[in-house]
């Protein structure tokens, strides 16, 4: 059981006492009558062949309060799309598959490009963005929830807890992010533990009190891929198409709404998903690429808030980060000891070294071209202004694909 301490500027909703899923779902069923809920699932076809998807489908089949499920499928042939549809058939809620490799969706991307709107490269950011567009085009849902499709320990309680704060009209939250501890026999979540938190705190040291840094530091798991928001936010948010998606989304929420209307919720006692390797030599792949993108996204957001980055600043940042990260390792070592978890100090230190390198790469990329350092997809309002019928086209494309 967690404590009930409120950290930072956003509300934290803890898992306290014995929660009743049935009670939560009954309430959500009532709220969904006036505030219909859409679930967006960004997925690769390979995830349908993995261990997580059967469990997710089995759990979602029991959920009654969803208005629609939009699955954006990437890296899939037409046959694989049909297989995915059959795989999802136990779910009684209306399901639409956005087939990213299909000719119709490809033409939607082409339409955007020829009108000077860059939807970015293939990835979770672009897939999620397109799914938001489809939900907006249908206009039948007020709330959008999103979670990954590689959660091995998935339970429908995760979805219920994630959606509840935004669906409940008396709470008045517009954005809710999930958090959880990623612990098996050891602690996972290296990027959050050893990169994001120490980096944010080093930046706070150098920049001084800053609204965005305080906001970002308030999130217990800023890189969690699970969040829920109202559809208006989906319309105005500009999100990065690369791995900076999570941080970029938080930055946009900070830009558009008061922290009072933002919360984070404990969604799972255990959370296990696929792990990525940290190969320092491969800057364009895996966890290394992810860390570089995250750093660039943070730098860009701060720059847009008026923070000036210079070579001297970055030099101080490397040293400051290293000190913060070393202190953090010590804290987690003690945490692991008291909980009887295995803790590989050498591996953790190597991770910090890799992350220092990632910060350096990101800093260089940012200094060379700050505008392209963390590319953002235009928001749907902007796209709609350029091509008034784009949402209708998207709706036709997805509906035709699902016939």
């Amino acid at each position: 059981m967690s404590d009930f301490y409120q950290t930072g500027v956003v509300t934290t909703l803890h898992q306290l006492g014995k929660s009743s899923l049935e009670h939560l779902e009954n309430e959500l069923f009532g709220y969904s009558k006036t505030r219909p809920i859409a679930l967006v699932l960004p997925a690769l076809y390979s995830e349908f062949e993995g261990p997580a998807m059967p469990g997710i489908v089995q759990e979602l089949a029991k959920v009654k309060y969803l208005n629609e499920v939009v699955l954006t499928l990437d890296n899939a042939t037409e046959k694989e799309r049909q297989l995915a549809r059959e795989f999802l058939s136990p779910i009684s809620t209306e399901i639409k598959i956005v087939h990213n490799n299909g000719k119709r969706i490809t033409e939607i991307y082409e339409t955007l490009k020829r009108n000077g709107l860059n939807p970015g490269e293939r990835g979770k950011g672009r897939s999620a963005w397109l799914a938001y567009g489809y939900v907006l085009a249908r206009g039948s849902s007020n709330i959008i929830a999103l979670h990954d499709c590689d959660i091995v320990t998935y339970s429908r309680e995760l979805l219920a807890r994630l959606v509840y704060p935004v669906a409940n009209p008396t709470l008045d939250y517009v954005f809710c992010k999930g958090y959880y501890s990623r612990v098996t026999d050891k602690m996972h979540g290296r990027v959050t533990r050893l990169l994001v938190t120490p980096l944010v705190r080093s930046l706070q040291q150098l920049v001084g009190p800053h609204g965005f840094l305080d906001f970002l530091d308030s999130f217990r798991y800023p890189l969690a891929g699970e969040f829920c928001m109202n559809t208006e936010l989906a319309r105005v948010n500009r999100i990065p198409w690369d791995w900076g998606l999570e941080v970029g989304s938080i930055a946009e929420v900070y830009r558009n709404y008061s922290p009072r209307r933002v919360c984070q919720v404990d969604i799972a006692a255990t959370y296990e998903h696929k792990h990525q390797s940290l190969a320092v030599a491969e800057v364009d792949k895996g966890l290394m690429k992810m860390t570089v993108d995250i750093c660039k996204s943070i730098f860009r957001t701060l720059a847009s808030e008026g923070v000036v980055f210079s070579d001297g600043f970055f030099n101080s940042l490397f040293v400051s980060y290293l000190r913060q990260a070393e202190d953090t390792i010590m804290k987690y070592e003690a945490d692991a000891m008291i909980n009887g978890l295995s803790f590989d100090l050498h591996e953790e230190t190597k991770s910090v070294e890799a992350f220092t390198q990632a910060i350096s790469i990101a800093a260089r990329a940012f200094t060379e071209n700050s505008m392209n350092a963390a590319p953002l997809i235009p928001n749907w309002n902007r796209v709609n202004a350029a091509i008034p019928d784009i949402l209708e086209m998207l709706k036709i494309a997805v509906d035709e694909d699902n016939k």
Binding site: E107, T111, A386, P388, I390, M393, A397
Partner: protein
């Protein structure tokens, strides 16, 4: 025996003679067709390049032409579709011209009818395209105006106007194509007349009381002297 041979050879000679007369025509048709295909291919390339230069695709995206294509489940670029349209029209024209070179009466009539009908078909397509853009523009303008005026059924009104305009345009297209023009005209007149009549009756019935009050006020006002105001204005 020679009579018998003549009996066999004469039709063959006649056939050969006809073939000799027909062969140049047939050859001419093939040449026309070949030139037509080459010309159509060239014209398609020119049209596509020109439209690309004029950013026709972006224009179509903004003006709703692309949406019209998507509604018909066509997912190519609008400029490619325009190029394909020009290509096939040229091919059909070349084919009809080629068939004309065969100098066969029945085909000649068909070709003449085709060339008479072609301008009508082209103008019908033009009416359809311009009409679609125009109805979209008017519908959007009505929607914006009605929303800004706080009218509750703005979307419904805009959609109704779009459907009415589309019906009008389709009637014009059918009339242009000479497809049962009498029936189209009658049907259109009945629908429009019916709508106007329905509106008149509903307004009339709904406005009986208001009209009565107005008339009563008018007639009673004529009989009564206007009351003198206590306060006199300077």
């Amino acid at each position: 025996m020679s009579d018998f041979l003549n009996l066999i050879l004469e039709p063959l000679q006649e056939l050969f003679q006809k073939f000799k007369e027909f062969a140049p025509n047939f050859l001419a048709m093939l040449v026309i067709l070949l030139i037509g295909i080459l010309f159509a291919w060239l014209l398609r390339s020119v049209v596509q390049k020109l439209l690309h230069t004029l950013q026709f695709d972006s224009w179509s995206d903004r003006k709703g032409l692309t949406t019209l294509m998507r509604k018909s489940d066509m997912w190519g670029k609008p400029s490619l579709l325009a190029g394909a349209f020009v290509f096939w029209v040229t091919i059909i024209v070349a084919l009809m011209t080629g068939l004309g070179a065969l100098k066969i009466n029945a085909i000649d009539q068909l070709v003449t009818q085709f060339f008479t009908y072609l301008p009508r078909a082209l103008s019908a397509i033009l009416i359809l395209a311009i009409g679609y853009i125009f109805s979209g523009f008017i519908s959007r303008a009505v929607l914006i105006t009605a929303v800004n005026s706080g009218y509750h059924y703005a979307k419904l009104l805009a959609e109704a106007i779009r459907i009415l305009l589309t019906t009008l345009i389709l009637a014009m297209v059918m009339e242009q194509l000479q497809i049962a023009p009498g029936i189209v005209l009658a049907a259109f007149s009945i629908i429009c007349g019916g709508i106007v009549l329905a509106l008149s009756i509903s307004f009339g019935v709904g406005g009986i009381d208001a009209a009565r009050r107005m008339i009563e006020r008018q007639t009673s006002g004529e009989n009564q002297e206007p009351e003198k105001e206590d306060i006199e204005h300077l």
